[in-house]
């Protein structure tokens, strides 16, 4: 589904990603782990086409199509979804209305008819129930004044409504207490299926106990220094990033 080849990218002229290659297939969950500043968030921003970041070289394709040439909204409509680490507040814009707009764009792209507010309200209500979200979040402004946990739930709600092919979840666990973490993880798990893929970006292995990845990659200083299966996450929990980073440095 997603093929990343020797991707180099940066911000304001500084190279942050120094050659990343990654292959994500349908139905897979990949976890990208790494210490702060390793380039995890940059990687996610590059995939969704954030204008502040520059691709220096390499290629990224989604189902064979050149992703790097697409506008951000095109990427989204082609099924890429980013679950934000810090969801953006949009005062004055009704949360349900925002979601309906996004949902209708998706329907339009698929050549289907747009959904009216009443039908959408029913759909949204079902998804919110799934995530244990209070229905009053429908009528509030997008993320405005939401607690950290509600903001993250709202991201997963959007994912549930839009049903993307590839979801990139950036530190979806940060700032969550254990109950909220469980709810969010359960929500993500119900959305897992054989046709979609997830890239789970995280600093802490904790969330991997709830969302079990098929592949784990360790990112350090802009490079994937080690890839493995779920066992690698356990190893990391015991030894921490330092020893791995050191080993990689010695190999160079």
């Amino acid at each position: 589904m997603l093929e990343v080849k020797d991707l180099k990218a940066g911000l304001d002229g500084t190279e942050i990603l120094k050659g990343i290659s990654l292959n994500v297939k349908k139905g897979e969950v990949h976890s990208i782990m790494g210490p702060n500043g390793s380039g995890k968030s940059t990687f996610s921003k590059i995939l969704v086409g954030h204008p502040a970041y520059d691709v220096l070289s390499g290629s990224v394709t989604l189902n064979g199509e050149n992703l790097l040439e697409m506008e951000p909204e095109e990427r989204a409509l082609n099924g890429i979804f980013l679950g934000y680490q810090y969801p953006v507040e949009v005062p004055g814009v009704n949360n349900a209305e925002f979601l309906r707009m996004a949902y209708n764009e998706k329907l339009k792209k698929e050549g289907k008819e747009e959904v009216d507010p009443l039908d959408f309200d029913i759909l949204l209500g079902e998804k919110m129930k799934l995530l244990g979200m209070d229905s009053r979040y429908k009528e509030r402004s997008v993320n405005e004044g939401f607690s950290g946990g509600e903001k993250k739930k709202n991201e997963i709600l959007q994912m549930a409504v839009l049903e993307p092919k590839l979801s990139i979840l950036d530190e979806i666990d940060s700032g969550l207490d254990i109950d909220a973490l469980k709810t969010v993880a359960e929500g993500v798990n119900t959305l897992r299926n054989k046709d979609t893929a997830i890239i789970l970006i995280t600093h802490y292995p904790r969330i991997l106990e709830y969302i079990k990845p098929d592949h784990v990659h360790v990112l350090s200083a802009g490079k994937i220094i080690k890839s493995g299966d779920f066992a690698l996450a356990h190893e990391l929990e015991k030894t921490g990033y330092d020893s791995l980073v050191q080993m990689a440095a010695e190999k160079d």
């Binding site: 969704v48 502040a52 951000p72 989204a76 949009v90 814009v93 209305e97 707009m101 996004a102």
Partner: protein, 487 residues
């Protein structure tokens, strides 16, 4: 919902489908233009040219005398070079062979102009729910729906017709809300005003359709000085809308109008403005309209209500304060405003709520949006007179900045002489950020739609007060004007 609303051709034309100012064309028509400059003879010439009744000469000369002794005010938070009042032509009118009897006698070029602007002045093309008075340069060229309104006892005509056909009514109210010597621009207007609209709603009559005036400045170097007078008699109500455009000239043009509203006992006037005068070159700031207008409403009777709603998107400089004098007990004043400035535009606008009667209430909701190098100031006065027991005011002024070169300012004034007054003031400043727009894009929503949605959210409280079919279009106008500013 929005899609189901039938588009109003008038405003959808004001809005248009393009980003460029599309009303910049000039109509090639033979006009009678008074030579530039102003003195007593000019005032007499205007009076004579317009074939006005005797009492108007006195009115005009009195105003001119006052104006000569006044100095142009400079306290607004706007910046413009001195205006050469001798360099303006004070009267310009399309040449007509005789008095117009029917729409067909409107000169073809003028009719074409309004057609091009989407203003249906011809009876057969008129909007079914809106009556239009079209003012071309200084002259009212066509008023629609007259017969139908006359059956209801409603007078909707040009101000010229009003002073000739209804002199008693006209004399009773003209200059009573904005006196001739009220301020520099009011005095100038009173001396040289050419035409405008007049509305009278008889007692207990609810005007069945929207009334509307459409203003068009055509001639380069001419000023536009029109005057609107609306009287809602006891227990009556009316909703009125004005729209404005002008051609694109490199020179600045002065628009100094006066609007007077009078609401008697239990009457209600709702006055809405969608202003899209030429704003000048967005890069250099060259050209554009100076929109220096005096708008004032008087709630003269008890339980009366006056409501101003304005969507200000055009003009090089907008400088005006649609105000309410709440004289009658239990009267209500409202002011809902969206002022958008982009490019090099400047605005200093707001309202004055003067509480005189007992239990008077007022609400001010102001939304200022400033982009590019533009400056946007809110200035508002709430005054409570000693006898205004239990006066209440709620003011909310919100500013939104787009980009980092624009500016927003707030100048609230509160003067209360009665301890029972309850006055509230809230203010906020926010910004459309790149991160917000990207968030929309990441969900598959275009930047244009994102801006649309954010601006609509920001202005919702004001749009809600526009007649419905205009609200959709007003919101589109804002989006189009902002589009190239944000990205």
């Amino acid at each position: 919902m929005e899609k189901k609303i039938e588009k109003n051709s008038e405003l959808s034309e004001i809005v248009g489908d393009q980003k460029e100012y599309k009303y910049g064309f000039v109509t090639d028509i033979e006009s009678y233009i008074l030579p530039k400059g102003i003195n007593e003879d000019t005032v007499r010439a205007i009076w004579a040219k317009r074939g006005e009744p005797e009492f108007m000469l006195e009115f005009r000369l009195k105003a001119f005398k006052k104006w000569k002794e006044m100095k142009e005010p400079r306290w607004a938070h706007v910046d413009y070079p001195p205006i050469d009042y001798q360099g303006i032509s004070y009267y310009s009118a399309p040449k007509a062979k005789k008095k117009l009897e029917t729409m067909d006698e409107v000169p073809e070029e003028v009719r074409d102009t309004f057609d091009k602007l989407g203003i249906p002045v011809e009876e057969q093309k008129r909007l079914s729910n809106v009556a239009v008075d079209a003012v071309f340069d200084s002259v009212s060229v066509a008023t629609t729906h007259k017969k139908m309104l006359a059956r209801e006892g409603i007078i909707f005509c040009s101000i010229t017709e009003a002073m000739n056909e209804h002199p008693e009514l006209f004399k009773k109210y003209i200059g009573t809300v904005v006196p001739t010597g009220d301020n520099f621009f009011a005095a100038l207007n009173s001396a040289v005003f050419s035409d405008g609209s007049f509305v009278y709603i008889p007692p207990n009559k609810k005007c069945p359709i929207e009334l509307s005036t459409y203003f068009r400045i055509n001639t380069e170097g001419s000023g536009q000085f029109e005057r609107t007078l609306i009287i809602a008699d006891k227990g009556s109500s009316v909703s009125y809308l004005e729209g404005c455009t002008a051609p694109q000239f490199d020179t600045n043009q002065l628009h100094a109008a006066i609007v007077e509203l009078v609401a008697l006992d239990d009457a209600e006037i709702k006055y809405s403005t969608v202003q899209n005068w030429y704003a000048g070159d967005p890069e250099t700031g060259k050209g554009g309209i100076y929109n220096f207008v005096v708008k004032r409403g008087q709630c003269r009777g008890k339980n009366s209500k006056i409501s101003w709603t304005q969507i200000e998107t055009g003009s090089a400089i907008t400088w005006k304060y649609p105000s309410c004098i709440l004289q009658g007990d239990n009267s209500v004043g409202e002011f809902y405003s969206v002022a958008l400035t982009t490019g090099r535009q400047q605005a200093d606008t707001g309202t004055k709520m003067i509480h005189i009667g007992k239990n008077t209430r007022s609400v001010t909701i102001s939304k200022g949006i400033s982009a590019d190098h533009a400056s946007n100031a809110y200035r508002g006065l709430v005054r409570v007179a000693p006898g205004a027991e239990n006066a209440r005011n709620y003011t909310q002024c919100d500013s939104m900045l787009v980009g980092d070169k624009s500016s927003a300012h707030t100048f609230p004034y509160i003067e209360s002489a009665n301890d029972s007054a309850q006055l509230e003031h809230e203010a906020s400043t926010s910004k459309i950020s790149e991160e917000q727009l990207f968030y929309f894009q990441q969900r598959g929503i275009s930047r244009e739609q994102a801006i649309n949605s954010i601006i609509n959210g920001f202005c919702k409280e004001v749009f809600n007060h526009l007649p419905m079919e205009f609200a959709v279009e007003a919101h589109k106008l804002l989006t189009l004007k902002l589009e190239h500013s944000v990205g």
